[in-house]
């Protein structure tokens, strides 16, 4: 479970760029929570703070009760991160890429190999497990990156724009995989600027704009809140209310 309270972060020499202003939300286990917002809304910064890569200026963020600043290494053991940057080592095979992260998480030997085999079977990577990733397609690279993020069996999973650059087949594969993870009772936090994706996948949607939560709830809640009949209009209305213009 992820719990954020009044989280804020600014960048720049004089802290003039307010990436996240005031975000409070709870992402429960067994659900996919979607962070929806236009580019620059603060989605990546928010996920990086939960992933312990960026220290918040104000507020608190906890993963399963562990503070992302004070207990950052405990948090890192609990989370699997599929960040915006998901480069693999092209000279290593798919298996070696995942094995490296397993070793850094303290796994070794037969249990680690069994875990990799299981992940590769689920993701359909078994056939190319021992090939170098240099020649992989975007979809194959994505699958290896997912296996790498899940190798230590994390209970909480963060995904930053995971469908970027993927073809439709890979997107469907990813959705199926995320639903499987939800069924296993994990907590998933998923960011995207594509509305259809969030709607297709998420149990709850948090709309971000200019570093603030402007709306929260199921797709139906949001439509009702914006007094519109479809979600796209709702999205535009919600963002427009915040910005004074249409995003």
């Amino acid at each position: 479970m992820i719990a954020l309270e009044h989280l804020a972060k600014a960048f720049g020499k004089r802290r003039e760029v307010q990436a996240v202003r005031d975000v409070s939300l709870v992402a429960p286990d067994g659900e996919i929570t979607g962070l929806l917002g236009p580019n620059g809304a603060g989605k990546t910064t928010l996920l990086r703070m939960i992933a312990t890569l960026v220290v918040p200026d104000a507020g608190r963020a906890e993963v399963d009760g562990q503070d992302v600043v004070a207990d950052r290494y405990d948090v890192r053991r609990r989370i699997g991160v599929l960040s915006d940057a998901r480069g693999l080592y092209p000279r290593l095979t798919a298996r070696e890429n995942v094995r490296y992260y397993g070793a850094l998480h303290g796994l070794a030997g037969a249990p680690l190999e069994r875990r990799i085999d299981a992940l590769f079977d689920t993701l359909g990577l078994a056939g190319i497990a021992d090939r170098r990733t240099a020649g992989f397609s975007q979809g194959e690279k994505m699958k290896v990156a997912i296996a790498r993020a899940l190798v230590h069996d994390p209970r909480t999973i963060l995904l930053d724009e995971p469908t970027n650059g993927l073809d439709i087949m890979s997107v469907r594969m990813l959705r199926d995989e995320l639903r499987t993870l939800r069924a296993q009772g994990r907590c998933l936090l998923f960011s995207s600027h594509v509305m259809q994706e969030v709607v297709a996948l998420c149990d709850r949607i948090v709309v971000l704009s200019h570093g603030r939560v402007v709306a929260e709830g199921t797709a139906a809640d949001l439509t009702a809140q914006a007094a519109t009949t479809n979600l796209e209009d709702a999205f535009v209305a919600l963002l427009g209310a915040e910005e004074g213009t249409i995003a």
Binding site: V54, V81, D84, G106
Partner: protein, 390 residues
């Protein structure tokens, strides 16, 4: 899961990654193995041709008919005397001739009149490979001058020692290995250079390259601490760098031991003892240069940017030995505190066939140890800063 295990996992991954990189591997390893032998071949052939010129001196003489006794003396000294071409000055400028002896037309007349006979040596001293011939011609003429004068004195019943109150005896304290300073310089220089180049591509690839490939951010979400990542990468680069240094020195060793090098009369030693001393002297460099390279690499977002930044280090490390080569003074004692300088000096000591003093070796470690700590600390701080994600 201990820090040590995570660090070792990083070392292992970095080494596998490095050895799979065919471009870096081939270029670095080939250049290190081949450079030594090629360099030595070139130097030895240069020295052999210089020595050969001095041994069989060919001396074009103009006006040989005016001084038959001088020509006869030269020929007795195994000099091949031949008539000089008309345009000998131009030939010397072009480098076709090393030195030409011109006998004055009035030579016989002057000698008969009791005046010194005039001869002129024409040469271009700026030409390095002509130097041996020039020196030999000068020495031979001086020897003939002395011989002739002594004969004249004897005819007048005076012993030759009257005219030679000073007897000069030369005692050159250079051990046989000390001659051939150029070879010493190049071998020591190349040893240092191997320590610098050996780790360069790998260090930049694992820092700037990792950022460029977007694999750093995921790595930072694992439980690996910044210091573990830094030390792991450093040990991997050091291991590769050490391999390159050992291969380079092995190239020198094998070439000198087994290659059919021309005999040059300079018994230059690079045996197993020198090999060992080289390794000991170079240890601080093999530890320090990768640390500096990693820090420089970590400041860049892309491999090419890192390559541009690293040129400053390259410049400094390759310039220091050159400065020392041209500084002919005795080396000051604080030199051991200057990294690179100290190692270059100790490598030269080893090549002269002497063992580097333990106190000097210990001093030569000081600055590198401090720099390693600073560079790795700065690298770790960069990894824990948010700006590394940008």
């Amino acid at each position: 899961m201990s820090s040590v295990q995570r660090t070792l996992a990083i070392v292992r991954k970095e080494l596998v990654d490095t050895f799979r990189d065919r471009r870096t591997g081939t270029v670095t390893l080939l250049s290190s193995i081949l450079a030594g032998p090629i360099l030595l071949m070139l130097i030895f052939n240069l020295m052999a041709s210089q020595a050969g010129r001095a041994r069989d001196l060919t001396l074009p003489v103009q006006g040989a008919e005016h001084a038959p006794a001088v020509v006869a003396f030269l020929e007795r000294q195994q000099v091949k005397v031949m008539p000089a071409p008309g345009d000998y000055e131009a030939a010397i400028r072009r480098g076709d001739l090393d030195v030409v002896l011109v006998v004055d037309d009035g030579f016989m007349h002057d000698v008969a009149g009791g005046r010194p006979g005039r001869v002129r040596l024409v040469y271009d001293r700026s030409r390095d490979r002509a130097r041996a011939s020039i020196d030999q011609a000068e020495t031979l003429l001086a020897a003939y001058n002395r011989l002739w004068g002594e004969q004249r004195l004897m005819l007048r019943g005076v012993t030759a020692s009257v005219a030679n109150p000073l007897r000069i005896e030369n005692a050159d304290l250079a051990t046989p290995q000390q001659s051939g300073a150029l070879v010493l310089f190049l071998v020591a220089y190349y040893g240092l250079f191997a320590a610098l180049m050996g780790g360069m591509a790998v260090a930049l690839d694992t820092t700037a390259g990792e950022r460029e490939r977007q694999s750093l951010e995921p790595l930072l979400t694992t439980p690996a601490r910044p210091l573990e990542i830094v030390v792991g990468k450093w040990l991997a680069v050091v291991a590769f760098d050490a391999l390159v240094v050992v291969l380079t020195l092995t190239g020198f060793y094998l070439t000198l031991a087994f290659a059919p090098l021309p005999p040059v009369g300079v018994p230059f030693l690079f045996g197993s003892r020198e090999f060992g001393r080289f390794l000991i002297v170079l240890v601080p460099m093999v530890l320090m240069l990768p640390a500096l390279l990693l820090y420089i690499g970590s400041r860049a977002k892309a491999y090419r940017e890192a390559q541009a930044n690293v040129s400053v280090l390259l410049f400094v490390v390759s310039l220091i030995p050159l400065v020392q080569l041209f500084m002919q003074r005795k080396e000051p004692s604080w030199l051991m505190l200057v990294p690179v300088s100290a190692q270059y000096s100790l490598l030269n000591t080893s090549l002269r066939g002497e063992a580097p003093a333990l106190a000097q070796l210990a001093l030569s470690w000081l600055a590198p140890l401090v720099l390693i700590a600073l560079a790795l600390g700065a690298f770790a701080r960069r990894l824990s800063r948010e700006s590394i994600l940008a």
